[in-house]
Structures are given as C-alpha cells and as structure tokens.
Point group: C2
Chain length 224, copies 2
Amino acid sequence: MEQTETAPPPSRPAAKPAGKREQTKQQNRQIILDAARIVFAEHGYGATTVRDIIRATPLASGTFYNYFQSKEEVYQAMQDETALVIRPKLREAREKAGTVEEFISATFQTFFEFVLRDGVDVRALRHNADTMRMRMDTPEVVAGFDELREDIEKAIARGLFPPVDADYLMAAIVGVAFEMSERMARREEADAKAAADFATTLFLGGIRSLPHKSDGKATEASGA
Amino acid sequence: MEQTETAPPPSRPAAKPAGKREQTKQQNRQIILDAARIVFAEHGYGATTVRDIIRATPLASGTFYNYFQSKEEVYQAMQDETALVIRPKLREAREKAGTVEEFISATFQTFFEFVLRDGVDVRALRHNADTMRMRMDTPEVVAGFDELREDIEKAIARGLFPPVDADYLMAAIVGVAFEMSERMARREEADAKAAADFATTLFLGGIRSLPHKSDGKATEASGA
DNA sequence: TTAAGAAGTTGACGGCGCGTCACCGATCTG
DNA sequence: CAGATCGGTGACGCGCCGTCAACTTCTTAA
C-alpha cells in the first residue's frame, strides 16, 4: 500500500504546555485530521467512510466520535484550517491597495498563488465520484467572503471603488477565483501570475481589454 | 398492429408506440427520478439514502439497481435533464449575437432567468449538510461548458471577440454565472434582469462601468 | 391461440458501516 | 496515595448496501 504523500498540513500554532490530557486531545484530533487528509486524497471524499479514516488511525471507533460527528465535520475542520491561513493574506494584500487595480490584482494573485502552492487537497477532493465537485462553505470560509464584501464596502467608502453592488461584486470575484483556479491547476504550466493578470484585466476593463492571445502585444486598454 | 391504449393519456412526450416493456421501463425510470427529486428536496442530498428513494417508490430495491447504480447516478440524471433543457436556449441566444455585448448579455440573462424559473431543485440540493455545496459536472453539463468555449472561439474567429484566452474567459463566465445566481436566488426580490445587467456590464467595461447603486446600501443578504 | 423463451421484478440475504455505551485504565486533584 | 474524573475502547444492535435465485409478465413464432 503506497503512502501517497499529501501536502504537509499547514503548520500549526500549538504552544500550550498543558496537562497530559489536553495534550493527548490535541494530538488525537491532529492524528484524525492527518489520516483523513491522506484517505480523502487516496479514495476521494465521496468514497471515503468514517471507518476508512478510523482504520488509518491507531484509535478506536468510539474515539473518533469524541472529536468529530462525521466525515463532513472532518472536512469542515480541514477547510477551516485552510481558510484561516489564507484569509489574513488576502486581507493584508487588500489593505495595502491604493487603487482599484491593486485591490483586485492583489486578491486574485494571492488566491491563485495559494492554490498552486497548497492547493493539493483542493484537487484531491475534487477526485470525488468522477464528476462531483464540492465546495464546503464552512463558517470560516463564509467569513472570508464576508471579509471580501466588507473590504469592497470600505473601498467604496474610501472612494476607491464606485458605489457598486458589493454583494454581487463579491460573488463575481469569488466565482471567477474558484472557477479559474480549477482551470489553472489543470494546465500543463499553471501560472498564477498569468491567471491573476487575466482576471484583473477582465475586472478592470472588461473583455475588450484582455490580453490578446496570439498577438504578442498585450493589454491595450481600449475603452468601450 | 394498433393496440388500444390501456395506458392513461400520454402526458409525457413519449410518442413511441413501443411495446409494453419499453413503456414500463421509461415509466419506472421516471418514477424513480420523480421520487428522488422529492426526497432530495425534503432531506437534502447528503442525508438521502438509496433506500429513502426506493421507499418513496412502489418498486422493489432490486428494481432500482436496474436503472441506477447509486444516488449519485440519479442526481447525475437529473442534472443531465436540466442541462439538456438549458443548453439549446443558451446556444440559440448566443448564435443570434452580433456584438460582444449581445453575446455576454444573452448568456447571463438566459441563465439567470432559467435559474429563477426552474432553479427549485438547485436550491433544494443546496439544502445539504448545512454548509456543503455541490455541483455535479455531468457529461451534459461539461458539454455545456465546452459549447460556451466553442462559441467564444467562433466569436473570435468571426472577429466579434478579441483573440483572448477562451478557456479562461469561459471559466470566468461560468464562475460568475453560478456564484451570482446563488446570491440572486437568496435575495428578497430576485431579479434576473438586474443580475444579468450587472454581470454583462462587468464583463464589458470592468468594475468602473458598473451601475452605481443609488441607495448606497450594498448588502441586502446575509446578516454580517 | 398458445407455449417456449426473453426480459424484468421481487424481496430476502450476507456483509458491512453506522453511532452508542458499559467498561476500564490513565490522569488529575487534594 | 486514594478517590474522582476524564476519555479511550471495541463489541453490539441497527439499518443500508448491492446481489441473485425464484417468479411474473411480455414477446415471439409456430
């Protein structure tokens, strides 16, 4: 049985010299999450059973249920971990933005780069039942969307953005980010910068401003 | 060999004077799909078991497996049905397009209107495990994406579009369409036209061209 | 018309994943 | 160190899974 190496779990801030009990608890939780990561990557999310995860663990079945209610909850926890890593990066990138362009560009670039680097599990989970795709909007993920909307609203208040429908704009950015990152990851030479440039140009000037493909010359802004 | 129909009036577009066996097969398949639709809507996709579907049916368990392998396959069939309905509409709408604007506008408008009208099951299936969203890219759905890309490429060839990256542009349109339709459907007064206008303007002229909101209230859904 | 054969349905069955809980060892507290 | 508490353990009963031999219904051909 080949142990498919999955991406190492995001480094964890565990800095509590707590009692033995507490330590074991943290450890068990992590053991389960790590096992789940491997099993999900191997069999795909859909085909994985709670038992599969337990078997990939030295723990007893009852113990699993002390930590999670179901495989969905395990996945949620994994999503939350990821969201908590990328959200600060996105926020920080947008905070620095002095123009619309910087705001949009920073958002896409940060996202795409993250997907390429740590996006292993994203791909693994897509590995589903052939054609099933899923996205789990956990509390932390939803909070990330809310942050984007807030940042847009702040940008509007600052006069950086025109007063557009922030909710729809957020949705559009999220939709493009997720859908494009999928396509990007499938390409031979996945290029986060190129993808981010494409999305940024689209959002700034529309289709007509997009870089011309065959034409060596790119990105000439030609208004409507 | 004209056989007097014992069957009820052909409410279904099955204009096939086929044998009894064939008739029953079509009927059983439809019985299962109809039952599944109700059960999925009631308990959500994740919580539904094959047995739940069978129970919502007068058929035996073995019979179910003559038609589908799993609940996933049932869902696939439902998705395919939907895709086969909307795809011709989208194609037709885009075929008529004489300008970039018409192309984009027709795509979004057709899609959003369809979601509002027939999008019931879309919402029902989201009813999942609280936070799980799914999209099943069945062969027919994927074919729809391919059609969009083809149409973009054709439009480029015609000189309608600049020679952009058709794959990414397709992804961007798909991403915005799905993500926005979700937000749209959640709003009190879901407005397909408004949503389509937003997306179209965004794709044509970028953020700066987007309609300015008059009431200044940017968020109406989702309590922050 | 009828009988052989094909096609499709049925539901009981063995297997297994599910979540629980009584038991017990390990850890904490005073 | 003893008693109290916490949490790990794994066997258990339940229900879902997909299968398949027996049976019913339809088709075909003489």
